[in-house]
């Protein structure tokens, strides 16, 4: 039996942590709806579980997404994540090879160098020692980077680092102590008794030359074990709770448990999965354009988790999804924020009785819906009408005489119940047309038609529809030298994953200039109805900054595909012309 009292802090810490996590997670899972439970049961024995495992490896250990965004930061996280993991796994294997029993206690592998008499070799002991030293070196190099990051955040390409509470600093110190302490404990032991490899052995000899390592060795093991134990005890109350929680979240996510409209068990998992890496900070235009540096998801989730006042943060978000698209943990940041918006509107079933199905039944197969904002950009409507005509499409303009709101702006204010009533009214009106295909010009309408309405007809945004017309040869574009930059509206690109259609259209009818704001990296125009906090002046500032960012590529035209974006961009009176993609297509065909 290998045992020494110094293993107690570690063992205690680990067991308390495991019990705490099991209770916590079980409580959250208990709040899952029956629907969610069914989904999990349906998906648990499928390839999705394998996919989740792969994702855990890639994201929780290798931190592959962070790597892509910032290699320095990625390497730092890889050192801690993968490094620590390998240290545990290879350490365990090493202990197994030596002891040949699977039932050695966890501390045996962790403190192997203490228990293992160095003179005694076993198969591959040198190789194990070499790898264990290599991994420790890797972690220590990551630690050095973390140190540098605290000191010089700009050197790593991060403008700001997340702010810390005193408690965060405490656990950070404990975490940073763990590996140097292991290094010291192993080195001292190696200096005393031999063993170890290129790192600990060399360091052991070195320390031996001037330190009384005989007296230092045993306390170093105590310190190492205590640091580990303390870290495990503090973990549930710190951001490092993300380490175990993220793994569970990745599985739940892959089993298709969705973040719904309300704060639920899955929300809890997400809340605790935020590693506070701070990638969302630099993605947020409220920060870069308006200097608002407290509303980004990392701060919002922190306040929410610690039950701090966060009412302004709840409202102050464009829900453009730029943060979500970059979140390495893939948290549903927009939906999470939306769960905190309250239902304020007291309505009854009769409130919207004034709304009557307006669309008349037609024989046309295609119904065109401009949307309420679309009526403020008649140029878009005119172009769509002209395109339908040119392509010989039999269509009906169902909201020519106006329409009611699609309900998404209401949803974005948190009033889901009210929104549902509006949507019910609108759905009846849309379906009354009897059309098979609904083409809309407004990405806001488009998103909710697609996701919430469950219409009995196909829904396309005009970008997708124009792409189909061009591909089918229904429109005949002529060659053009116009250079274009595309501003993908938040609700269309990140909101509905429409990325390839506009790219293809612009490549067909113009010289499309690629920018740093392609696809998921598109900017927000600032007009977002989801932000319930910022002033019109601040919206203007966002629009001007976004326009300038696009104008830097000197296109002839800035092309967008949303009436709200077009209106927002038209306000500053920039010298860069802004057109809807429909207007451009109409002009080129």
């Amino acid at each position: 039996m290998y045992y020494d009292p110094f293993v107690l802090p570690f063992t205690l810490g680990l067991n308390i942590l495991l019990i705490y996590l099991i209770i916590k997670y079980a409580r959250w899972i208990r709040t899952f709806s029956t629907e969610d439970r069914q989904t999990i049961r349906r998906n648990i024995f499928t390839l999705k579980t394998w996919k989740a495992g792969k994702e855990v490896f890639l994201e929780s250990l290798v931190h592959h997404k962070i790597f892509r965004i910032n290699p320095f930061l990625g390497y730092m996280h890889l050192c801690f994540g993968l490094g620590w993991f390998l240290l545990i796994v290879i350490g365990k294997i090493e202990s197994l090879v030596y002891h040949t029993s699977i039932f050695n206690p966890p501390y045996f592998a962790i403190f192997f160098r203490y228990f293992h008499p160095a003179k005694e070799t076993f198969p591959g002991s040198n190789v194990f020692a070499f790898f264990m030293d290599l991994i420790l070196l890797m972690i220590l190099s990551g630690l050095l980077l973390a140190w540098l990051k605290r000191l010089y955040s700009k050197a790593l390409g991060l403008k700001r680092t997340t702010r810390h509470r005193p408690f965060d600093l405490l656990i950070l110190t404990v975490l940073w102590l763990i590996f140097p302490l292991r290094f010291l404990a192993e080195s001292f032991t190696s200096g005393l008794r031999g063993g170890g490899s290129f790192l600990t052995h060399t360091a052991g000899d070195f320390f031996n030359s001037f330190l009384p390592i005989e007296q230092l060795s045993y306390p170093a093991w105590w310190a190492y074990s205590s640091a580990l134990g303390l870290f495990f005890l503090l973990l549930p109350f710190s951001r490092y709770m993300h380490i175990p929680t993220e793994i569970v979240y990745i599985f739940l996510k892959n089993w298709e448990v969705r973040q719904g409209k309300h704060f639920s068990g899955i929300s809890q998992f997400q809340l605790y999965s935020c590693s506070r890496c701070g990638i969302c900070i630099d993605r947020c235009q409220l920060g870069s354009s308006l200097g608002m540096t407290d509303t980004q998801p990392v701060y919002f989730l922190k306040k929410l988790r610690h039950g701090k006042e966060h009412s302004i943060l709840v409202d102050n978000c464009l829900m453009c999804g730029r943060c979500e698209a970059a979140c390495p943990v893939d948290l549903r940041l927009n939906a999470l924020r939306l769960t905190q918006r309250q239902e304020d509107i007291r309505i009854t079933k009769s409130t919207y009785e004034y709304i009557r199905p307006a669309a008349a039944k037609t024989t046309a197969k295609v119904a065109y819906f401009a949307g309420c904002m679309g009526h403020l950009t008649p140029g878009v409507i005119r172009s769509m009408q002209s395109i339908f005509h040119k392509a010989g499409v039999d269509y009906t303009f169902i909201d020519e005489g106006g329409s009611i709101c699609c309900g998404r702006p209401m949803m974005l204010s948190g009033n889901h119940h009210t929104a549902a009533i509006i949507q019910e009214k609108n759905k009846a009106s849309l379906e009354a047309s009897g059309a098979e295909l609904l083409v809309t010009s407004c990405p806001i309408c488009y998103k909710t038609f697609k996701e919430d309405y469950r219409l009995d007809m196909q829904v396309l945004h005009h970008t997708e529809y124009l792409d189909i017309l061009l591909r089918e040869g229904a429109l005949h574009p002529h060659c053009s030298d116009i250079t274009t930059v595309f501003h993908n509206p938040c609700e269309l690109g990140r909101g509905c994953q429409v990325y390839t259609a506009p790219e293809h259209i612009l490549q067909t009818i113009s010289h499309r200039i690629a920018t740093a704001y392609e696809g998921k990296d598109a900017l927000c125009c600032g007009g977002s109805l989801a932000n319930l906090h910022i002033s019109p002046q601040q919206r203007l500032q966002l629009a001007e900054d976004a326009l300038n960012a696009y104008a830097a590529y000197r296109p002839d035209v800035l092309v967008t595909a949303c009436p709200l974006c077009k209106k927002t961009f038209s306000q500053p009176g920039s010298s860069l012309p802004v057109q809807d993609i429909a207007e451009l297509v109409d002009g080129q065909c």
């Binding site: 009526h375 403020l376 950009t377 008649p378 020519e400 203007l540 209106k567 038209s570 306000q571 009176g573």
Partner: protein, 340 residues
Amino acid sequence: MSVIIIGAGPAGCEAAYQLAQAGEKVELIEQEAQPGGNLNNWYQLFPDRKSAQELNRQLILRLEHPNIRLHLGCMPTKIDRREGRFEVQLNDGALLTGQALLIAGGFQLFNAHRKEEYGYGIYENVITSVELENFFTNQRIQTSTGQLPKRVGFIHCVGSRDEKTCNFHCSKLCCVTAVKQAIELREILPEAEILCFYMDMRMFGPGYEEMYREAQEKYRIKFVRGRLSEASENKAKQVLIKAEDTLIGKPLKMTLDLMVLMVGMELSAGSRQLAEMTGIEKATNGFLRVKDPHFATNETNQKGIFLAGSCSSPMNLTDTLTDARSAALTIREYLKHIDL
């Protein structure tokens, strides 16, 4: 002593004449092929219905003064200040020198395309106030389908007092211009219904309020207090407008045969370039800032550079000409001072 004046609109012409009469040499630069500026586009002037072209002729006639050299179709490409003298390089290669520089670059009209919801350039029967002046000049008022309009609406404050176009200022003249144009239209269309959609009627000048009364009583012009939110077009190419009749408190829909947008005034592109070349400050309304709103209305933050006319704020012709005379006087004082 010589003075360089940039812009030969009414302000530039009047200032040139006054300075020339006082014995100063004047170099008058105009980017267009003829002097007159925005006045060239006008038919009649308020409040006395004077012919705009008659006034223009008078102003241009006075430029045939021996002390005035007119440079038409020219633009300054470089403005330097050397030993207290201004050197202005023109795009035709000429180099002009003078002891003082007067900027009379004037205004430009708001680009109505920017107010997309009003449908200018999209709907056939939406025109601007300038285009209506052209109609008057040609004495032909008709819709795109060639008919006499039965109902015409004037929309005030297009590109003025509008945060959505970043034009926060009041262009001052559009109200009285709308009243004047409505009266002129009535004379051509005795049967038509003519309406003005306003936010506030700003009849600031002498005789303006009287014109407003006359428009109501004698010319049967109707006034609706409400700002247009948007317009659409029907199959007959009529314009359907939406506004609130705010004095009643109900939304109002109306079909117009012709819709006239009273486009506001902005600092002209030329004036803006001059300001950038010379370092003259701009005021919050986007026009050029005068040194003092009471005592130095023609001076700027740059010594020796003066302003005249509507490059410093929206002005009617009366005020523009007065301002030009005031500028001439200020420049003469300045020249006397540097002479000593």
